[in-house]
């Protein structure tokens, strides 16, 4: 997992981030097996989202990983080989829909509230919580938009922040 939770490292390093979607049987250990394919080869998993698919017997995983393309090709093959994995697709470079979500808790004085809400409105946020001294804003969208929203809010006191990581879906009628 990345050690810098604020910004995605795609903005701070030159290693390309690949987005993989993996469709798996929902059996115990499947997540650990897939993570091991990466860790064994020294690859960094930037983000990982997993949740039940339409059919609860299966799960969808979206993995953001960075590393050299050759090594990644081997990882994709090894992940595909796993008995519980039905398919593993690399969406990098595809015209796929890739989004993520972030909740940011900002400490605000009444004087700062307006500016924070202005920034939030520009990025299309939902206001989830409001108190005398804080508010929670939720943003959804492309990774780059999320990164920019966070950057804009950094001048205020960010109390905490959590990102979901990317989820991905191919365009058109086909299945990812």
């Amino acid at each position: 997992m990345t050690t810098s939770p604020i910004l995605s490292t795609s903005n701070t390093t030159t290693a390309p981030v690949h987005t993989l979607s993996v469709y798996v049987a929902n059996n115990p250990g499947v997540l650990a097996r897939i993570a091991q394919c990466f860790s064994r080869r020294g690859f960094n998993i930037e983000s990982l989202v997993v949740s039940p698919a339409m059919d609860g017997k299966f799960s969808r995983m979206t993995i953001g990983a960075s590393g050299n393309p050759e090594g990644l090709e081997q990882i994709i093959k090894q992940v595909s080989k796993l008995i519980d994995v039905l398919r593993c697709v690399d969406h990098t470079g595809d015209d796929a829909v890739i989004k993520e979500l972030v909740m940011i808790k900002v400490g605000v004085s009444p004087a700062e509230r307006a500016e924070v809400l202005q920034i939030g409105e520009h990025f299309g946020c939902k206001n989830l919580d409001m108190t005398e001294t804080s508010m929670i804003l939720m943003f959804a969208g492309k990774t780059e938009k999320i990164d920019m929203a966070i950057r804009m809010l950094k001048k205020f006191r960010i109390i905490e922040l959590v990102r979901t990581g990317k989820i991905v879906m191919s365009r058109g009628e086909g299945v990812s």
């Binding site: 250990g29 650990a32 081997q74 595909s80 080989k81 008995i83 039905l86």
Partner: protein, 598 residues
């Protein structure tokens, strides 16, 4: 490994009493352990190699209560059990089955599981586990076996309900034996092997991620055939996959039709008969000079079931850089993993080769074959007969005396390389050696497993004094079952291969290689009732002693061969170097440390 554990035996007993009344009408219900044993029977299992313990008692008990015909072989160390199952699987093609208890019993199998995984050997390893409510609470003899073995298995299961056992067993055997074979671990909590299993014993499998392989791509086969037709200096590389898919007849037909020479990997020995005129023997780090010259000078190399391992390729960027490179393999992940290839075909080796034969014709290889014959004449494998008893000479003599269907297993080290060079393997499934893992201690127990699988074959375990000491406790197992396994201990009182590297690359600084304090192995063998121990010290006695060992049939026969220390295995391609840097004999100048993986 015994443990006292509490389990709901009493509740079960009263249940069984009531059921005995209508036993005539319906069979008594099975518990998880009994269902497991019945499933093993249904899969044609003949042997279980194992060692009991508290968590596994219900399964061991079921061996008796089901009155099964399966023979339970009690070993002396769980590592031995895994290597026996491995040797059996390599000799017979059937999966080997291991049954051990939880905690340290299970962790003792990890080396053997890794060994099988590296060499694609079908194996089922059943481990007892603490009772379900105690899992994760650091119970007595609890270990996260599922987690520990994850990277070294083809697949694994943690049983969550006794009724899952029949489906899991069926899936486990299917996974272990199909596609690229491999080990499958099944972790069975004790309350589930004691609990009732009411599920049918032959259910449907549920493997949505593991389906039928696609048919062979004919375009790929035709592209390979076209590439072959343009070659005048081809080299066929026969690997383990050719043996796993029983392709040896097809490989021979292909080689003879093309007129192409064949080199084999360490694990490919026997896929193409090494006494055939087209055979170049083993290639790679300690392969024959002529096989390596063929690799360096060919214009086309085609691997049938070899994964182009680093022992073969040397420096990958230089490997066959001017040749057309072809790869036939059942595992798509191996294609382009080590080296980039020009053509490939993913599929069962035998099916692909049988199809390929239809599309090829005789190549113009007369000059190439004659050129390679020249290399065979000028750089044969050789050793000096004077200057002390040498492993090479003993193995050379043994080779002349072995029947063609004899099974040879080896341990790991210099003796293994010399055995690969001097024992000519003629038939498939008669050469058993730990390749990918290089596991010391493999040689003797794997011979035991092979002997169980092929009771009428003559089985020789060729081991070094280092490796043999790691699993020699299995002499007890061999003696109890009166297995006439021959154990050739090639004893130079050293970890010879490492000593060779230290001599060549570390200015002869010996560190951690001197095996002082070796016992008299012949005496040690005879401490086990039924075993025979012989000692061989002089070259003149070689044939006589080997013959005596061959004649002893009441149990295992060990020969302690006192060999000289100072021999090195040649040829040698230092790790990470291209094959052109092959060393044929003791170098006169200092060598740089190799940079490749050990």
């Amino acid at each position: 490994m015994t443990a006292i554990a509490v389990s709901p035996q009493n509740a079960k007993k009263s249940g069984n009493k009531a059921n005995k009344l209508d036993a005539a009408a319906t069979p008594a219900p099975l518990d998880g352990g009994q269902a497991l044993i019945k499933c093993l029977e249904n899969n044609g299992v003949e042997f279980i190699w194992g060692l009991s313990g508290g968590s596994a008692i219900p399964i061991f008990d079921a061996i008796i209560t089901t009155k099964t015909k399966i023979k339970m072989v009690l070993v002396r160390h769980e590592q031995g059990a895994t290597h026996m199952a491995d040797g059996y699987a390599r000799a017979t093609g059937k999966p080997g089955v291991v049954l051990v208890t939880s905690g340290p019993g299970a962790t003792n199998t990890i080396t053997g599981i890794m060994t099988a995984h590296m060499d694609s050997v079908p194996m089922i390893v059943i481990t007892g586990q603490t009772i379900s409510p105690m899992i994760g609470k650091d119970a007595f003899q609890e270990a996260d076996v599922f987690g520990l073995t994850m990277p070294v298995v083809k697949h694994s299961y943690m049983v969550k309900s006794a009724n899952d056992i029949p489906r899991i067993m069926k899936e486990a055997f299917h996974i272990a034996t199909t596609g690229r074979p491999g080990p499958v671990v099944i972790d069975v909590p004790k309350d589930l092997s004691s609990g009732l299993c009411t599920a049918p014993l032959d259910p449907e499998m549920d493997l949505p991620g593991y389906g039928e392989p696609p048919p062979i791509d004919l375009h790929q086969v035709q592209a390979i055939a076209a590439a072959l037709s343009r070659s005048t200096k081809p080299l066929i590389l026969c690997g383990h996959g050719a043996l796993i898919s029983h392709a040896s007849a097809a490989v021979r037909e292909l080689a003879e039709k093309l007129g192409a020479p064949v080199a084999n990997t360490l694990l490919g020995k026997g896929g193409f008969p090494e006494d055939h005129p087209l055979s170049l023997g083993m290639l790679g780090m300690h392969g024959t000079a002529y096989a390596n010259k063929a690799m360096a000078e060919c214009d086309l190399i085609m691997s049938i079931g070899s994964r182009y391992d680093d022992r073969i390729t040397g420096k990958t960027s230089q490997f066959c850089k001017n040749a057309v490179r072809i790869h036939i393999d059942i595992d798509w992940a191996e294609i382009n993993k080590m080296i980039q290839v020009h053509h490939y075909c993913v599929g069962d080796a035998r099916a692909v080769v049988e199809e390929l034969i239809k599309h090829v014709a005789r190549l113009d290889t007369k000059a190439w074959l004659s050129h390679l014959d020249g290399y065979k004449k000028h750089h044969p494998l050789k050793y000096k007969m004077q200057g002390g008893l040498k492993m090479q000479q003993v193995l050379d003599e043994l080779n002349k005396m072995l029947p063609p269907d004899a099974i040879v297993t080896t341990d790991v080290g210099q003796h293994q390389m010399w055995a690969a060079q001097f024992i000519k393997t003629i038939q498939p499934d008669t050469w058993i050696s730990s390749g990918g893992a290089g596991t010391m201690g493999f040689g003797f127990p794997s011979a035991i497993g092979a002997q169980f699988g092929k009771p009428h074959a003559q089985v020789w375990a060729i081991v070094g004094d280092g490796g043999f000491q790691m699993t020699l406790c299995e002499l007890a197992t061999a003696c109890i079952h009166k297995l006439p396994v021959k154990i050739l201990v090639l004893n130079n009182h050293y970890l010879g291969m490492v000593r060779q590297w230290q001599e060549l690359f570390y200015e002869s600084r010996e560190s951690g290689v001197n095996l002082e304090g070796n016992p008299d192995f012949a005496k040690l063998a005879e401490a086990y009732p039924g075993a025979k121990g012989l000692t061989l010290k002089r070259p003149a006695d070689i044939r006589k002693i080997l013959k005596r060992a061959m004649e002893y049939k009441e149990g295992p026969c060990l020969i302690n061969v006192e060999c000289i220390k100072s021999e090195n295995v040649y040829p040698m391609v230092p790790a990470g170097r291209p094959v052109e840097d092959m060393i044929l004999e003791a170098p006169k100048t200092k060598l740089e440390k190799p940079t490749g993986s050990t």
